[in-house]
């Protein structure tokens, strides 16, 4: 393969790029013309598929966020009536007052939508698809067709879930964890009926989507890297997406198995998860099953799932932070190995969700140990982010602000994780708002911040325009203050024993003293929701009216995606794929602002970053090179 000319000179506009031009010189026109449906609907271009995941993810985020506003209204003003609720929810909120049944349905849907559809598909689906081929130097995924299938499985799964919102008995309402026996007995509650079947079908389809996508991500990273793209020259984003995909591939199939067993219990009378049980005074046929078994199977996915959510955000933050600090990421290999450590540990901590289930205390102590061990790789990452910022030339654009906000939230939420990881404390706190505060901050908000950082940062690559920064700043600062305003007080609620999953606190003397605090939380939530609608507006406004990108590499970044044309076509690079000669974090080095990965090493220069070269201007210097 020939060494590369500097592709930074080529600027293309909506070109359909292809690898080999030679053979269709005499071919007729139309050979590469795609019609609208092939180009934008059933597209096999990883960039279009990434954007499709983003659009659908955003739509779901609005739905899921709105649901949380609805049930927050109920918690803050249990006696008031809100006509808007009736307008949205019809007879589920007759007279503007949310029914108890539907309160649980809303909470269940909020969790399901946010965890699976927004923070799994919308985050990992968007950025793994968009960035992996661009950053490892591939024309597309290993199997573009399977990639397309992955997105349409997500659409199908979404349709089933959406449909379940409109059926007479309402959607599933037993929590996003779908614990039996509530989820296994159609007669147990309204939401355990058809809604639960649809929930299981939707999740099964979603697992197929994740598997097809993950298969592609792993195969692409291993097999499709461009010349010179060694593993340790991959950006941390790619590392994060790679391990995220592995976690998904190994944990989701177990949930699939659990869903199938549950569906057999529901439809065909088996007793995998059901033991001798009475419903409405009537003894059921079921005998000999174990509901705890479902919890094991569920959390074997469920815990890795939180790392499926957070790892892509970590990768994005690492990349964004390095670019906008104009500094190499501190401890690149430590970052890689801490992702690996988190990946391994994520599979052996699931029972810390089950300390309350009568788990043997000796077994619990082992899970406590592994859980607390996760603090080690997490702390390494936090340390490395902070040291990357240290003495950097920081650009405080919205992407960078959200990356820094991510670190703040990850610390705040992570610390409470150390408390909850101890079984002795967890038994006290598990069913309180303390846990709600913990996981919303550490995986919900932090992952959202990572996603925002990624959207602001790669928007120019996605659409060839910039997002509006002023709206971006408003979005960030209000969201940051609002995030803490919503979830910080919940720690206090939890410590004083306020339980999760309650519909109405006003009837409890010991909890109704917090009525004002609940109002405060709800108001903060509404403000944050509103400002995120502003973000959505900014996003769509900027697609059409944003300032146009005029240079190939607006941030002065080193990675390969910025060597593609401003509007890359299917195939990404015009002509040959650039080869890679160095790691992706050569910033402020050898007296230069940055050195792209495509630039050959100078005489005597080594691509080795383990020995002090993480400090600015301390690399194995080749003065005057270039």
């Amino acid at each position: 393969m020939a060494e590369l000319h500097n592709p930074a000179i080529e600027v293309g506009h909506d070109t359909h790029v292809h690898g080999h031009d030679h053979h269709h010189g005499h071919d007729d026109h139309g050979h590469h013309e795609l019609n609208f449906i092939e180009k934008y609907i059933f597209s096999q271009d990883h960039k279009v598929i990434g954007k499709q995941f983003l659009f659908l993810g955003m739509a779901w985020a609005i739905v899921g966020g709105l649901f949380s506003i609805f049930f927050r209204l109920q918690l803050a003003w249990p006696d008031e009536s809100f006509p808007i609720l009736e307008w949205f929810l019809g007879s589920w909120a007759e007279g503007g007052k949310l029914s108890a049944e539907f309160y649980y349905a809303l909470v269940t849907m909020h969790g399901t939508i946010l965890v699976f559809f927004v923070l799994t598909a919308g985050l990992s689906g968007t950025f793994s698809n968009f960035l992996i081929p661009l950053q490892v130097g591939a024309r597309d995924m290993a199997s573009p067709f399977m990639n397309m299938l992955s997105f349409w499985m997500f659409v199908l799964s979404s349709c089933v879930m959406l449909f379940s919102l409109f059926i007479q008995t309402g959607p599933a309402s037993g929590g996003w964890t779908a614990y039996p026996p509530l989820s296994a007995l159609p007669q147990a509650s309204l939401g355990s009926g058809l809604g639960m079947d649809l929930w299981l079908i939707s999740i099964a389809l979603f697992i197929v989507s994740v598997a097809l996508g993950g298969l592609n991500y792993v195969t692409t990273v291993i097999n499709m890297r461009t010349k010179g793209m060694d593993f340790f020259r991959m950006p941390l984003t790619v590392w994060a997406f790679f391990f995220t995909a592995i976690i998904g591939l190994l944990s989701f199939p177990v949930l699939f198995g659990a869903a199938i067993l549950l569906e057999f219990d529901r439809l065909l009378g088996t007793s995998f998860f059901l033991s001798d049980i009475y419903v409405a005074g009537e003894a059921l046929q079921h005998s000999g099953g174990s509901p705890i078994l479902f919890q094991h199977l569920f959390w074997f996915l469920g815990h890795p799932e939180v790392y499926i959510i957070i790892l892509p955000a970590m990768g994005i933050v690492s990349e964004v932070m390095s670019v906008h600090s104009r500094k190499p990421i501190f401890g690149y290999k430590a970052m890689v190995f801490s992702i690996l450590g988190i990946t391994i540990l994520s599979f052996i901590v699931w029972a810390h969700h089950m300390f309350m289930s009568g788990l043997n205390p000796f077994v619990a102590s082992i899970f406590v140990l592994f859980t607390l061990l996760i603090a080690v790789p997490s702390a390494i990452k936090v340390f490395n982010w902070i040291t990357t910022l240290w003495r950097g030339s920081i650009r405080l654009n919205p992407a960078m602000l959200f990356a820094i906000g991510f670190v703040s939230l990850f610390i705040s939420g992570g610390l409470t994780g150390i408390y909850l990881g101890n079984s002795t404390l967890d038994i006290q706190l598990h069913d309180t708002y303390y846990v709600v505060a913990h996981f919303h901050i550490v995986m919900g908000l932090a992952a959202f911040y990572g996603m925002f950082a990624g959207i602001y940062h790669w928007f120019p690559k996605m659409f060839g325009r910039y997002m509006n920064s002023s709206m971006g700043y408003v979005h960030f600062y209000v969201t940051l203050v609002g995030s803490y305003a919503i979830f910080w007080p919940m720690h206090y609620l939890g410590m004083s024993g306020v339980p999760r999953r309650y519909y109405d606190f006003s009837v409890f003397d010991q909890f109704n003293q917090y009525a004002d605090l609940n109002k405060f939380i709800t108001i903060a939530a509404i403000i944050v929701f509103a400002v995120n609608i502003l973000f959505v507006f900014n996003f769509f406004y900027s697609i059409f009216n944003g300032r146009k990108v005029t240079v190939l590499n607006p941030y002065g970044a080193t990675t390969l995606e910025w060597t593609t044309p401003i509007h890359p076509g299917h195939g990404n690079w015009v002509g040959e794929i650039p080869a890679v000669h160095r790691w992706p974090y050569d910033y402020s080095i050898n007296g230069r602002d940055f050195i792209p990965q495509t630039e050959a090493l100078g005489a005597g220069e080594v691509d080795d970053h383990d020995h002090g070269s993480d400090l600015p201007n301390a690399g194995s210097a080749i003065p005057g090179k270039h």
Binding site: H18, N223, S290, E576
Partner: protein, 205 residues
Amino acid sequence: MGTLAYKKEILPDNIQPFKVHPQKFALWVGISVLCMAFAGLTSAYLVRKAAPNWQEFIMPTQFILSAVLMMLSSITIQGAVWAFKRDKIALYNATLFISLALGVSFLVSQYLGWMALEQRGVYLNGNPSGSFVYVISYLHVAHVIGGILPMMIALVRSLWLFGDPAKLAAFKTDNNKRVGIELLATYWHFVDILWIYLLLFFMFS
């Protein structure tokens, strides 16, 4: 149309450091996913078995016959791979057909096995020990059918196309189609080994 024409061009100017055909690699990743699914189910079996009220029963011999059929078809499909690489199309068709026939008889044998279980009073909705065997073997059969369908397609395509050496040669130049039979054989060996594992697991765990 455009994308398909484009797709073939993805591979050549990419370097593949591991020198594994991407589709073969993807299949192995897919197989590890299926392994996890069945590992999850069999661990659930073990967890439940450790609890009281677990009914023991003996596996029907039909399940063992199934395993033998599966092993034989693994050998014949490997013969098909061998024949395809050497352009022995008659042998390829024959071995493919025998593999297909053995695959279908596996399904029949499994069905007879389920009948035999019912005759012993082991029902799907009875004690979980039986339910597990039914559900896990159903899932396995679903995966076997997932191998039988492409096997049928391969056979039909062979009868349709490969009589003409020119068409066969053209087929073999396509980097993705060329490996189809190898992918199929790998997958088939997987469902074969999976059933042997499941059977031994049910009999001796």
